[in-house]
Amino acid sequence: MSHAPHSSLPVGHYAYDEVDRTFLKQRVAQFRDQVERRISGALTEEEFKPLRLMNGLYLQLHAYMLRVAIPYGVLNSGQMRTLAQIAQRYDRDYGHFTTRQNIQFNWIKLEDTPDILALLADADMHALQTSGNCIRNVTADQFAGAAADEVIDPRIHAEILRQWSTLHPEFTFLPRKFKIAISGSPQDRVAARFHDIGLMARKDENGRAVFEVYVGGGLGRTPIVGVKLRDDLPEEDLIAYLEAILRVYNEFGRRDNIYKARIKILVQALGVQEFRNRVNAEFVAMDRARYRLDEKIVAAIQARFGVPDFDPAGQAAEKLIQQRKADRAFDFWVRTNTHAHKQPGYVSVTISCKPAGGIPGDVTSAQMNLLADLADQLSFGELRITHLQNVVLGHVRQDKLYALWQTLDQNGLGTANVGFISDIVACPGLDYCALANARSIPIAQKLSERFASPELQREIGPLRLNISGCINACGHHHAGHIGILGVDKRGEEAFQITLGGAADQDTVSIGQIIGAAMSEDETVDAIARIIDTYLARRTAGEQFIDTCRRLGTAPFKDAAYAPA
């Protein structure tokens, strides 16, 4: 096998070859034909719906919505420009980054969709596996290939899993959708235990990957923390073992009740030990040689990923220190919005898509184009979308940060709030979503304005605030330190507050509802009182979640429901 030199490969993601491209072109042609037959009436809506969903096209509240896959959240500048072009030409000039590292366009026309998919295919992109009861887009650490604490680049195995799952005949009609997340650092940044399968990769003594395997986690109607099935799954058995899990799920998972169809319900019903026994029985009975993930295959996939050609560190670090000293606002941004890089002289930058009063995760086409330009200039043409709805430039030289921050700030992308209360995760809610009970965005806007002061946010410290417009939990409200859930009170919107959720691996927990639903404004006030209670009751060094765990929900509940 021969490989192109690294320099010609896209940095950070898998380079398509002609086989991949031909496949995508065929899928676009197939869908074009299906759309024509739908428009002519040859296909009814009932016949067409599953076909359009397989191509990421939903019918939402106001129009069709197209969900485009961004495998493991990584894209190159050209792909970002394609997304900008779609937003500008076929939508209303913006897109929405989601908690599954994808992007959604809200105003798509059915008749334009084949052309949009063709445009995507030209950029090696598609909308497959973004809907339906298949293995969905595999998510990965947004600092993959960059983080100082990383031991294995999870994108390689994410790509292997993508190839294994795409069109796997057995797994296109699972009982329900299936979500996999993978991390290659001991610090879980992917919420591994809130996925159908969560993988934590590390290295064994010979330098080969081994995986901790979690199964049966999820949010939604029945939030459950995933349980550990394996501690030390060798790399060569990764596909075989996951195949075994999926076979057990496919065979025993419930298909009679959509609310009981996820693997988490099966794991709970059988018990972990019995579930593990069945997986092991399947695993030992399999033709393991056939599923063996050979080191050579891993190496071949890895070779299709471009790697950055880093410059020597030089005086980059010293220069950054001086610039931080000279400009306090910049210093605060560096503290919140950068992450330690393994390469001396470099950092990863998280660009906040959450300005005060803004719509979490919404980015205009102009901003997308700017981000693409910045990626070309400063980060080897590569970008990542985070599951917290922000954008990451993975590899920025430290002495380029100041200019980057200034440019971002001039374009509404310089907010220094990553990890703070205004870095809100929110689903589209009732403003767009046909399943919603309540709007998620306006309450997010009110909260981010209420807590806009940088000083106040720094005083409050790290805090995750997540909002979902209904029990499907697309905004991961149960995983937020503070969660907000939209409910329907006889046709009126109302909100419940949950407290104490967390998605970090060691301390993962599900937020608990503290009481009856309130109106939007009452909820905003209640959260302000909850924050006041924390500030008054915390001990030195305690973060919000710590105080919440130490005191339990009672004092916060009292504050939330205190008469105004």
Binding site: I39, L61, R92, K109, A434
Partner: protein
């Protein structure tokens, strides 16, 4: 369509809505039998007579290039029918977070002539 939206009181009144097949946009059945993007033009039915009208419109949905025909309960105001649920108000008026994206929002041609 979601059953929630078809909840109607016996003595109330309703209008009929759908999405256009080609572009997905929301439309309302008007008094003149045309489908209008504006709820203010919508024909108001008593909840007693609406079931038959819904059956008829569902049957002709494909011919009219529509999907998801259903009835929406409204109250009457001087400016026309107003849905009783927040959800249908948002459908009628556009997303509350983009005041400019009303049903009047004019689109540019998808492919601008050179």
């Amino acid at each position: 369509m979601d059953r929630r939206n078809n909840r109607r009181d016996a003595e109330g009144s309703s209008v009929i809505t759908a999405n256009r097949l080609l572009d997905g946009r929301i439309v309302w059945l008007a008094a003149d039998g045309q489908w209008s993007p504006h709820i203010r033009n919508a024909r108001v039915y008593s909840n007693v007579e609406i079931e038959d009208a819904l059956k008829e419109q569902t049957a002709s949905a494909q011919d009219n290039e529509l999907v998801g025909v259903y009835g929406v309960q409204v109250s009457l105001s001087p400016t026309g029918p107003v849905p009783v649920t927040s959800r249908e108000c948002i459908r009628a008026g556009g997303p509350s977070v983009h005041p400019d994206f009303t049903p009047e929002w004019q689109e540019r041609p998808a492919v601008s002539p050179a």
